[in-house]
Symmetry: C2
Subunit: 140 residues, 2 copies
DNA sequence: TAATTATATTTCGAATTCGAAATAATTACA
DNA sequence: TGTAATTATTTCGAATTCGAAATATAATTA
């Protein structure tokens, strides 16, 4: 059949899923990049800028901008590291944490509602295949 | 385990795959949106702007811009439809077609090289799961 | 046929994204 | 130790992306 079908359906699935997430998160005045940073900090307490970059999919040149916006919105604080003065440590503010306490469960449920069209086994195979693809595309 | 693992690996797989494609196509001075339009026209001969939009993932507000660039680059022509004067018909120029004759097989091979980490069966399951997810996220 | 609704496309303004180069601090190593 | 290489982050400028509103034409309906 069509040799590119897999990439086509992957791109489509990503796009509609990403849009569902984007629309959901937009209700709280956040975009996907911002949410990614908040999510990373929500789970890790403290992270350097580099630490966040390693967790999310936003390139460093965009990250400064994203972080600046989050600081301006009052959701995170940014402090120069004592040990390594090149580095800046990020942390949620109380407001940021409260926001995530509110949003995160809804976000998670929203995604689960979508993914629950898959049965358990199917989801596991999917995960494995996607991990393989992720690695495989890096080697190019 | 982690309930969000599936979306995480999906986003990662998409990102690295998309970057591989982007870098590949960038060699020819095209971005992903532009390539999507050329690809649609490469297979369909003629399409209206709407026809293209229905095939690719670019929203209409961005499409005008993408099309304008492709016209300026000399890869497509755009002509008002006789039947329906709201509509504009797009078509590859000879230059555009030659370009695609050159690029498309390489692009296809590039993607197959990445996807061939999957065995046949795995790829089929993946496709099915992704189609389900695509539909499921639209219903939100 | 006039008025209404629907469809195709563009415009607008603003936000986001990117790669490449710059800056600043740290580490390696000759 | 001094110089080079590496790492963390930002800046810059330009391109791309988006949603919402506008425009223009076509189809529907009263």
């Amino acid at each position: 059949m069509n040799e590119l079908k897999t990439i086509t359906v992957l791109f489509r699935a990503y796009n509609s899923l990403e849009k569902a997430v984007r629309d959901d998160i937009a209700k709280y005045g956040l975009n996907t990049s911002e949410f990614g940073v908040l999510e990373a900090l929500y789970h890790k307490e403290k992270l350097s800028v580099k630490g966040v970059i390693d967790k999310v999919l936003t390139p460093n040149s965009s990250m400064s901008y994203v972080i600046e916006n989050l600081v301006n919105k009052g959701y995170i604080i940014k402090k120069q590291s004592e040990k390594d003065k090149r580095s800046y440590v990020l942390e949620l503010t109380l407001v940021g944490r409260n926001l995530m306490d509110e949003i995160f469960p809804l976000h998670k449920q929203n995604i689960r509602d979508i993914l629950n069209v898959l049965d358990k086994e199917e989801e596991v195979v999917l995960q494995k295949a996607l991990v393989k693809i992720g690695k495989s595309s890096l080697r190019k």
